[in-house]
Symmetry: C2
Subunit: 625 residues, 2 copies
């Protein structure tokens, strides 16, 4: 019996209605970890170039992190991978909650779906068994109804359900996957891949437990982390206010996307931020499996808001709030509920709506296009209406459900100038003009603009003890300024991109483990040692992260992506419109392009593609051309 992982991968052929199991062995786990390491391994072994993301040839992987389910604190995460219907590149999205740990307790590290069911189905995984079951009854239901129906049908309240809502069924290109109503594989439209396969949900239940090599050591480390979480300023603020605290922080530096990225501060920021949410809406604090931080928001029922879909995160508040000029928190709680109910990424949904609002403001579209409905900045009711229309592909909602890039193309060149996306994915709510490292990561992330790959670089400036202490084992942040697009800044982005992918591979949460955060990296290494029993090191583990990044890059190259796709939208090369740096251009295009080239050299990529030497160095010789 291995330690940390289960050693079993469940394969589901939806076309044939059959399941099987393979056991790839210890060296596989040691090389690829879990999560996207597993996902990319199988995608690269089976997905043809040019596959239609919404066709039966797409492969859909659910993979727990290597340590997920081990009771180590803040290690609840799993990854979903496929070719993305939003970008055509790698689709990859992580979620916390309880679903990943439950999968491990049910005896599997990952589930891999191929083909397409002839009618709606769901998968029922329980203690080493798997069953493809009819989902006719739940097709059409929202994510909450789906979960409760399955728990009732299978007769166990402790079943964990990952499901799609109406958005996934309607192949909305930014439909997400929801587990337990309040945790999301949010980005890249992976819910639409489930929909395209007629796969409504995966219900899992396990009573096993993940083996731990050295329980005494793990217990001691866990105690240390719990103590640190109770004392550390970052975890404390995440506990008290959750991510909505970032509304105020970003607004203060002129980096709160407002009026579809036209401004960096919002006059009603105070109305939608952490203080207001905490004071007026908060009922309690939710959490993920074995996490002492409890950053999730449990809100009160208020107005017509169903609180069971959780409270809004920062990204939701900014994407559907400030970026749409909507400053009413009650409306945003409802918008959040609707997106979660329908199973739709709040970032891309907000981006689609605010993009529509900007097109309206510019006179590119009017009521004749928008089904006679309002689509104007500041109109909260319109936001709610358009969420509904997008999820159901109703009227112009059908156009927006394609994502902003496809919508703009259908509206013509005049609309394209408003796009704020990379590789087809809408940018999350961190403005690269005030966080230039984030801009590099938007351009370089294999999954399109993404704030998970991105570090929030102001925290890494010299003198910030959080960032400095945490970065030390990686050999960065030794008093080196990381302000502009210098080599040091690129290095910081490069190193943290390796580290973030390692987090995904292990299943650990950024909030508990990141540089600048609660748990020093060396404690994380000790945790891996305690759980797996491996004589390992940060050196070896960082190679898991690097392997993931290089496999992602090879995946994208095979699907036609190249260095020409590592770009930022023009808007970010323009001046800031508000905040302390108003009028200032902070990212210069030529400098930015040089920084991208520098990153390639750091990564061992020739014109953006992994060199044969880099692949061999990583033990990925099987991907050499």
């Amino acid at each position: 019996m291995p330690n940390g992982y289960c050693g079993k991968i469940l394969h589901v052929d939806l076309t044939e209605g059959k399941t099987s199991v393979d056991e790839p062995g210890e060296l596989f786990y040691r090389a690829y970890g879990g999560g996207p390491g597993i996902g990319l391994y199988y995608l690269l072994h089976g997905l043809p170039t040019g596959t239609d993301p919404l066709g039966p040839e797409n492969i859909l992987v659910f993979a727990a992190g290597l340590l997920t389910g081990s009771t180590a604190p803040s290690v609840p995460r799993y990854t979903v991978c496929a070719k993305s219907p939003l970008t055509g590149a790698l689709g990859k999205s992580e979620a916390g909650g309880w679903w990943g740990p439950e999968l491990k307790m049910a005896g599997f590290d990952a589930v891999i779906f191929r083909g397409k069911a002839t009618k709606p189905v769901y998968l029922w995984v329980h203690n080493g068994n798997a069953e493809i079951r009819d989902a006719s009854e739940i097709w059409g239901k929202d994510t909450g109804e789906t979960a409760s129906t399955l728990k009732s049908e299978l007769g166990d309240d402790r079943i964990r359900v990952a499901a799609i809502g109406q958005a996934g069924e309607h192949l909305v290109r930014f439909a997400n996957i929801v587990n337990e109503l309040v945790h999301f594989n949010g980005r890249n439209g992976l819910g639409a891949v489930m929909g395209s396969k007629n796969l409504k949900a995966i219900a899992v239940r396990g009573t096993g437990r993940v083996n731990v090599a050295n329980q005494e050591s793990l217990t001691e480390l866990s105690r240390w982390v719990a103590q640190a979480a109770a004392e550390h300023p970052l975890s404390k603020v995440l506990h008290i206010q959750g991510t909505p605290v970032i509304i105020g922080a970003n607004d203060a530096i002129g980096g709160l996307p407002t009026h579809h990225w036209s401004k960096g501060s919002f006059e009603s920021a105070n109305e939608i931020g952490g203080d207001k949410l905490t004071e007026e809406f908060l009922q309690g604090r939710g959490t993920c499996f074995a996490c002492p931080i409890r950053c999730k928001r449990v809100i009160k029922a208020s107005g017509n808001v169903d609180p069971s879909f959780g409270g809004p995160e920062y990204e939701t508040l900014a994407a559907l709030g400030s970026n749409c000029d909507v400053g009413d928190l009650q409306t945003l709680c409802k918008a959040n509920e609707m997106c979660n109910r329908f199973g739709m990424d709040t970032i891309s949904a907000g981006a689609a709506i605010s993009f529509g609002m900007q097109c309206t403001e510019a006179g590119i579209i009017g009521p004749e296009v928008t089904d006679g409905k309002a689509l104007k900045f500041g109109d909260g009711a319109a936001v709610l209406e358009w969420i509904n229309k997008i999820a159901h592909r109703d009227g112009f909602g059908d156009v927006l459900a394609e994502g902003t890039l496809r919508a703009a193309k259908s509206l013509g060149l005049d609309a394209e100038r408003f796009l704020v996306q990379v590789k087809g994915q809408e940018a999350p709510m961190h403005d690269p003009r005030v966080k230039v490292g984030v801009g590099l990561q938007y351009a370089l992330s294999p999954i399109g603009a993404d704030h998970w790959f991105a570090q929030h670089d102001p925290l890494f400036t010299p003198g910030n003890p959080i960032g400095e202490a945490a970065g030390q084992p990686m050999g960065i942040l030794q008093g080196v300024a990381v302000g502009d697009l210098t080599g040091e800044k690129v290095r910081m982005v490069f190193y943290t991109s390796l580290l973030n992918s390692l987090f995904d591979g292990l299943g650990v949460c950024f909030f508990g483990f990141a540089p600048r955060s609660v748990t020093p990296l060396n404690k994380m290494v000790s945790m891996v040692q305690a759980i797996t029993g491996w004589e390992t090191s940060l050196w070896e583990l960082m190679k898991i992260g690097e392997r993931i990044n290089n496999m992602a890059r090879v995946f994208n190259a095979r699907q036609g992506f190249s260095s020409k796709d590592d770009v930022l939208p023009d808007k970010f090369f323009g001046p800031l419109q508000s905040g302390p740096n108003k009028g200032k251009v902070t990212i210069h295009k030529e400098e930015f392009e040089q920084a991208i080239l520098l990153y390639y050299e750091m990564a061992g990529w020739i014109d953006g593609e992994p060199s044969n030497g880099k692949l061999s160095e990583l033990g990925l010789g099987w991907l050499r051309k």
Copy 2:
């Protein structure tokens, strides 16, 4: 007061007769470690392109390892760096013993010499003070007389002396630096650099001690290492037989250089190996500062051999023994004594003599060239005579004192075909035809053919528990075969080249810490943490090694070296002449060249030169072109 290091670098201007001290600060030590990290930093900041290695512009650095002198077990080493008079490339050579620890206890991490004294001098360093003193009395003396005269002159028997002998004074291009008669900065002719500066010796004495952040942890780790050294098969055999045990091991696999590389096994191997030395010559076992392994040989007085210059190492026995067809151990003990007395690298001395023997055998030279003296394979008396003639540049000895590359050029093309050197340095006594990874390292080492950079790769094959266990934290050796010139083999060479340079930076000894050896790498990391107090990791530390390798590469590029110099002598592409693989060609030129290119890609080098991205990644942006 810092931990681990002293924080002070002593600068000596021999031309002006002045000394000064700088204190580069903690981040300097954290980035560069010690040893070659310090050496290269100062060479790259002051040495002009095209500098004459034997001119006053050359810079000569003596630098202790970061941890040297800390009482950590098996951490006694220091480095000497300069531009090499043998290769014209980086000159770099490590030594053990007590001199490095004593320098630290005297308050300095390094001593840097510039310029040239007008008359012979030595440097006297004691407890934070430094004094340039007259050496007229000891100029012309051998290394033993020099040490004893200085101890007597300065009135302290505990003074440690690093000195040159007659070879260094006569600018023999492979003259070495000897400390305490039995420890050597052996290769690259750095003794000649001392000679060229009229610098006879450096005497050091300190009563301070190196600060340790966590003595309790260090004590516990030290106890662990001592126990491991007592039990581990590698350290046990090194203790019992010393490096001469390798004679038998290499002979068995057809890899014992014999008859100037014409054969791989020697009929008299048993007469010059570890068994014979142990049984008939051994009196005791010597050691370095705080090392439990005690791999040094103390031999009995026998015949005319003065035992105070120590017993012969493997390299000496092969270079002056099997490779000259000399199978008499008494003669080899004398040859060893003479080289050490005169201060001359036994490898290059043996290579020069065996090369001369081969030229004689081929009829290229005869008595008219060799001063009427014999220079024939198998003639032990001739070996002793030619050691004497080389050290004093007597007659044809003057030609051989230039090293084989220059000697061959002066003898014409017919002699050049016998050369076994890279970048002008003669190959040490490991045949790449039976250890192909060593061949890669011969070609790639910045200091010319060198067996320190090289790993003895048969030990890394799957199933060897020593290699596998030790390699795990580096993420290699996970059951992957490393036999041929595959990507895995190149990776092994690449990773271990980083690691070996890290060892040099820390001052730790390969025999105590290497992959496949006594101390697991994670214990080494713990030791760095205990001594320095840094929250560090193998990840951060390996970057020290990588920094050193990249700085060395930049140094060589500035001095005119390029990818065209990363080659092997033709001989190694030919068939083996004896042993189990007799007649077999094991290194194919095209495959080898591909492997070199693969290494460049792994290292982030474009056509063999560090890319700007790699330099920035390592915090070496100051070396960008």
